[in-house]
């Protein structure tokens, strides 16, 4: 009988392919990638912390609308804060900042917190952290190779760009198509590693 494969850490981006829109659209620039990644991380963790309270103090039929309202409030609040921190960063991230509320990763978090499928520490926090770190790495990789520089999420008046290469070594990576190609390779590598280690592929 085939030995049952053990579960692996929940990896929403490379494992479950969740939250792809911001991961591809804004990860051509490290500053925007980190801002969106942080927004998703905070949104997921806040939902994970508040939903048990919502479940405790409200009837079950109100859990879903309250969860959606909480997610929308978080993303609106985060958009306002990013706009105050750096108007340029808010403009560069564009629509993706308010759309955090309906990001499929956040929606999946809502479903799980409403159904109590997974806990904050066992699924939500590791998953949010893995997504955040993956987005940071992908956006840094894309910008360094695709544009030859690294843009930091600094407020106005601070030096925000570090030059790495005088010429971009692989311009394709800066384009959305390059993002998809990179993501495809990362998913492939991740799954090969999981398979070799005998872990369950999500």
């Amino acid at each position: 009988m085939e030995k049952e494969k053990s579960p692996f850490l929940p990896d929403p981006l490379l494992g479950c392919l969740l939250g792809l829109c911001p991961a591809i659209a804004v990860s051509g620039n490290f500053a925007t990638g980190s801002v969106i990644g942080l927004g998703l991380l905070l949104s997921m963790v806040s939902l994970g912390l508040l939903m048990p309270l919502v479940r405790r103090f409200s009837p079950e039929r109100l859990w879903a609308p309250l969860a959606f309202a909480l997610a929308a409030s978080f993303s609106a609040f985060y958009s306002v804060l990013v706009g105050a921190y750096s108007p340029l960063l808010a403009s560069l991230t564009g629509l993706f900042l308010p759309l955090i509320a309906v990001n499929c990763l956040v929606l999946s978090t809502l479903r799980k917190t409403i159904r109590r499928d997974e806990g904050l520490w066992t699924w939500l926090l590791p998953s949010a952290l893995i997504y955040f770190v993956s987005l940071l790495l992908i956006s840094a990789f894309r910008e360094i190779l695709g544009a030859g520089r690294l843009t930091l999420p600094m407020p106005a008046g601070f030096e925000n760009t570090v030059g790495i290469f005088p010429e971009a070594p692989l311009r394709l990576l800066a384009a959305p198509a390059g993002g998809f190609i990179l993501l495809g390779f990362l998913v492939l590598i991740g799954r090969v590693i999981l398979d070799r280690k005998g872990k369950r592929i999500p």
């Binding site: 804004v26 409030s73 105050a84 560069l92």
Partner: protein
Amino acid sequence: MMEPRKKEALLANLAMAAFLAAMAGLVVLVAILIDRSGQARDAALLARLSSSEQAGPARRFSDPAFAYLYPMSRGGKRSYAALANIGDRNGMVRVAAFFSPDGRLEAVHIIDSMPAGLPCGQDGWFTEFLGKGREDYPLLLRDLKKPDAVAGASESLMRTSEAFSRMSSAVIFAEAKGGER
């Protein structure tokens, strides 16, 4: 008389509605406070750059490039100023644009650019790029479509010139509204 079960449900609904309203109110309050402090900071920056002072309340516009238009005054000479974000997903610059009351672009200062080192992040780039130098900036979009006005036409040029064109139209609108008062 309402059934106790229905009454309980109604109270629960009302409590949740009040909670949601309080949460929405909190977000709106924070947004208003941040917006006001940002507006005061922007007005001070524009006054410093143009060595003038704010001559009235800022007028809000729902435009993707700029949010407020500030009436300014220097020694009795009136002008308008706005802070705008111009660019696309490859890069964005924040500029302070100054207009005469008839909507002519008088000066552009670069405030910040992301990433740094963009060609459009250099002072003087906009006037050169727009191809008009010190000449009057065309006020109408149809003038911008003439080949001589859109030398080296590109998406960036159209995006830039449209943003300035909208700011210019906003100045003309604000001036007309101001004159009505």
